[in-house]
């Protein structure tokens, strides 16, 4: 009887101690514990993504005949040849721009280097909207770096672990940036609309000059502004399909329809500022 009482009291004391440690441990202990578990957890995010790649490889190998694969390879080779020509043109244009900048003593334009990364996991719920990508601090990625993809803006890096990074999506409520409309110089503010149930991702645009109008038939394209700092100019954010006048009568605000492909993005590019690379 006494032993059972002792066991019960011991258990409750251990439990209370563990709860107190979870809640009240010093910030330093919590920081390093959190970081340690994040690094241990990183393979749990990266492994399914890598298994997916392996599955695609075997799917191609088993389910497509040699001639089908040869045809696809041939089409890709034609596409690559086209891109190689465009790359050569690009290089020629770049060197022309550099020589003109030298003659006119203008500052250089190239500000970012791209680090391509695979998306390991999407974590979108009522509290946050994050992507976990398979590259981290070991690849030069730091917090605050911009992330884009073929369809436009993806978001911003909010945490860079050693081999993985957490990206806050452009549709997240906490994501805000300066933007402008294509063909317009005047800056506007873009902010994500946050988690929506069973709807495509959306955002909001504010401080739009009153003379601008948008509709579903004639949407305005919203692009990044150099005022944002971490983003270069002109990357697509989304389409603005409606603008309504604010009560002050000076500005308009509206809804931004984000690209549908944002929800299924598999590869992204992290923009690393060239100045940070030169410092290292």
């Amino acid at each position: 009887m006494a032993l059972r009482k002792f066991t019960a009291v011991r258990n409750i004391a251990i439990f209370a101690g563990v709860l107190a440690a979870c809640l009240l441990a010093p910030a330093v202990v919590r920081h390093y514990t959190g970081k340690a578990f994040e690094e241990f957890r990183a393979p749990l995010d990266a492994i399914p993504s890598q298994l997916n790649d392996l599955e695609k490889f075997w799917d191609l190998r088993m389910n497509y005949s040699k001639s089908e694969l040869i045809e696809v390879g041939r089409d890709l080779a034609r596409l690559n040849a086209g891109y190689a020509i465009k790359l050569t043109e690009n290089e020629a244009l770049k060197s022309r721009v550099e020589s003109l900048e030298k003659i006119l003593s203008l500052p250089g334009e190239e500000k970012f280097k791209m680090e391509v990364a695979r998306v390991a996991r999407r974590d979108i719920n009522a509290w946050w909207q994050h992507l976990i990508i398979r590259k981290g601090a070991a690849h030069g990625i730091r917090e605050g770096y911009a992330v884009i993809y073929g369809g436009g803006v993806v978001g911003r890096v909010v945490k860079a672990n050693t081999y993985t990074s957490v990206v806050e999506l452009v549709s997240s409520r906490g994501f805000r940036m300066a933007a402008h409309f294509l063909g317009e110089d005047r800056p506007v503010i873009y902010q994500g609309a946050g988690s929506l149930s069973f709807q495509d991702a959306r955002g909001e645009v504010r401080d739009v000059p009153a003379d601008l109008k948008a509709s579903t038939l004639k949407p305005l394209q919203l692009v990044t502004s150099p005022l944002a700092g971490s983003f270069p100019d002109g990357i697509l954010i989304g389409d603005v399909i409606d603008l309504t006048l604010e009560p002050d009568g000076i500005f308009r605000s509206g809804t931004v329809r984000l690209p549908r492909t944002l929800g299924g993005v598999r590869e992204v590019a992290v923009l690393i500022p060239v100045s940070d690379l030169m410092e290292e």
Partner: protein, 175 residues
Amino acid sequence: MFRKFDIRIPFLLALNLLYVFIISTVNSELAPYVCLMLPAVFIVAPALFLGFGGMLFVVGVTAFFAEATTPVRTGMTAFVWLLAAFWIHGWRYRFKTLDSLGIMGVSQAANLVIILVFAVFMKGDGAGFMQYALRLGADMLASAAVLAFCAKFTVSLPVSIMGALGLDITVSEGD
């Protein structure tokens, strides 16, 4: 707890980590439309089958693995999960027969309470309270529907695997 090695502790921890892997993968594919929140899956089996210390260890470690990237203070998730595990562990004798209805009931109750606690403590991502409530409601409904199917499975699976290895695993008798 340390007098003899209890194989059930690493076994249930390994099962829990597999569940973390599976649920993360499923949520990644279902995003952004719905998110399955199933903390009960990680809590009920360890609370029923393990002694007090083993349950603390398995649920605590799993909480840190499952929520290592949460915006809540590190440790808050472990705190809530451990409270739920403690409650279930105290009532484990009521579920000695491991009947489907009882297991599903306790899993649904624990899941609902944990999510509601997080809903109170965590700042929502929605544009307003209505959007937050709608999104949370949709996620909770989907999670409850999935849990209705998998609650009994997550408790019978360790029993089946241990039975196949020639070991008996039942509701823990003492601490």
